[in-house]
Symmetry: C3
Subunit: 257 residues, 3 copies
């Protein structure tokens, strides 16, 4: 057990994770998030608790201006209505033209062929980061070679689950933080995706940024679960933990595999 | 007092209520909820705390697929915009065709003639369950015979108030749980409607399912009110209570009339 | 210090603030709020905790009926999509025709020229109250004379910041309550705007109503910050504080400048 932890921390140290967190807190990047209706408030509060700034307009007349002036763009495909469908390519083009990192969270592409087709088209924009679970991974990339092609084009994949895997052209990461109670709160994954986008603003190695962001969010979730009486109190506890998480919290809890 | 409680529990026992709750927790049904913008997050978190799974897409291109693959459909008429207006009949048809229970919550039909007319048209689909308060009841069914006609067609009415009444072709129920502080939180009624929809997935006697679901939700509200410092902390407390409610909690608190 | 507080309380007494709060609690006014997607739930819960009643429909077919039957209309320009853009003038006309106070919160007009132009057109309706920060003020009124013209037409400006300024044709107010942690929660400003709208229902001197409403909300924020472990628990604490705030809380904390 000790040996495995020792091995696992070879490529991700608590110091690096905390260093990137401090850079987020100091830069206070603005993330423009086109996210689903259920996740909007929790995502905005997650970014604010982390030390970042959210903006969330979806209107197609306004979204380019918001996206190009932000430090990163997050696109989440939950509740993909017509307004979001129209706004997303406009926002991605504006963010890409301005050199901002673009992160996509293809929520529930495994439940909707229409949405899956839309997500596949977005791959042409070569997003910097894709955050998805195994079921969404299988729907979006039926063959392993499909995923490899996207990685070769420069996209980092953050595949979440009991064990999280970050896959990239460079270093890969295996991460094991988090708590089952987080799955009993809606949009925790979506809010976590916003944390990854914020970390991508302060570190050009997107795989490393994703690994650090995911670790911070999941450690905050563990701290919250240890204090919460259930999934209701987990939400305020998670935001409080994200706001006050320390180097020591990360040192004590970081688990790679 | 003791006599009245004894009488009231003749047709709804704490054992039955808890048995249905355990069936919800074991089955973990997915409820597709087309609900209002104010209620979405709380409704999703209520379903997750209960042990069910929410999905919430409204887009007309996607909603049929989500509705037919879910275990139940919930339609709530709050913030009834054009997208929701278009999606609702599509979703109901898909759910009905797949044999799923359909529950409708005609929020504020008493404040909007347009919405009331829309709700009346939905009666043609013969929903399994209608959840509404007295004012909405009066707007939707000006004559008692209008309500009776809907009940004869097979719809169960859950009329909420200080005393809740479940009316059906079969057995009726009178329920008295709940706490006034619940009315000081937005969308508690809407979230409660989702609980009823979840219970309708595990019990074909829809009136019994509604009576059990409403009792569980309102007892969780009482437990939460006894722990909360006001309407703000009632929300996390209610979700925590719903997550951890026990047979004993129900035994001690179930109040029928 | 004591002198400055003595001077500052000359034009706003704790008694007046609490008197207006009691009038809100007794009247329980309904506020129709067309507000942004991120702020809807928090705004509704803020109004309910205060003792007022929210309604939040945006659909253009329904919004006139909701606005004219409400006691006040609140228009917030965050997430200004096509539905909101269409509904807003319809709702303002209906509210104005019914003699209801209209309050506008031109969120982020400094980040979007399209939105700023839209907000400028709304000035023709002569809203009773504008709530905005310094950056939004500068975007909307590039010259001081532009702001003066709006004030001369009868609009009260509530300019929020470290020090809040209420400017009107009559008395002005300088207010200093609030806590930095409030800025780490999304939509606190938007929710506070709803409190001002509620106070405008019980006091025709809109500047005084705005000063009292802002003081109550910001004192509730201070009480919440003193009890919260971070921005997550600030939300339930703020709602609990708003629900239970006393004459003594206001007496002890009211700070004008």
């Amino acid at each position: 057990m000790n040996l495995s932890i020792a091995a696992s921390t070879q490529n991700l140290s608590a110091e690096t994770v905390f260093d990137l967190l401090m850079r987020v807190r100091q830069k206070s990047p603005r993330i423009h998030a086109i996210t689903n209706a259920v996740a909007q408030t929790f995502t905005a509060n997650t970014l604010l608790a982390l030390g970042a700034v959210p903006s969330m307009t979806i209107a197609k007349e306004e979204v380019a201006g918001f996206a190009e002036s932000a430090d990163a763009l997050l696109v989440n495909l939950g509740t993909l209505d017509e307004s979001r469908r129209e706004a997303i390519p406009v926002a991605i083009k504006a963010a890409k033209a301005a050199g901002r990192p673009v992160s996509i969270d293809p929520v529930f592409v495994n439940r909707s062929p229409v949405r899956c087709a839309f997500a596949k088209e977005l791959m042409d924009f070569q997003p910097d980061l894709l955050r998805l679970n195994e079921a969404e991974m299988t729907a979006l990339f039926p063959q392993r070679s499909d995923a490899d092609a996207v990685i070769s084009a420069g996209t980092v994949l953050a595949v979440t689950g009991v064990e999280d895997k970050i896959e990239s052209q460079g270093e890969d990461f295996r991460l094991r933080n988090g708590h089952p109670l987080m799955a009993r709160v809606t949009a925790t994954g979506c809010a976590g995706g916003a944390v990854l986008a914020a970390f991508a603003c302060v570190e050009t190695d997107t795989a490393l940024a994703a690994a650090c962001g995911l670790s911070v969010f999941n450690i905050a979730g563990e701290l919250a679960a240890s204090r919460a009486g259930g999934p209701g109190s987990l939400v305020p506890e998670l935001l409080d933990a994200l706001y006050s998480i320390t180097a020591n919290d990360i040192e004590m809890r970081l688990k790679t595999a």
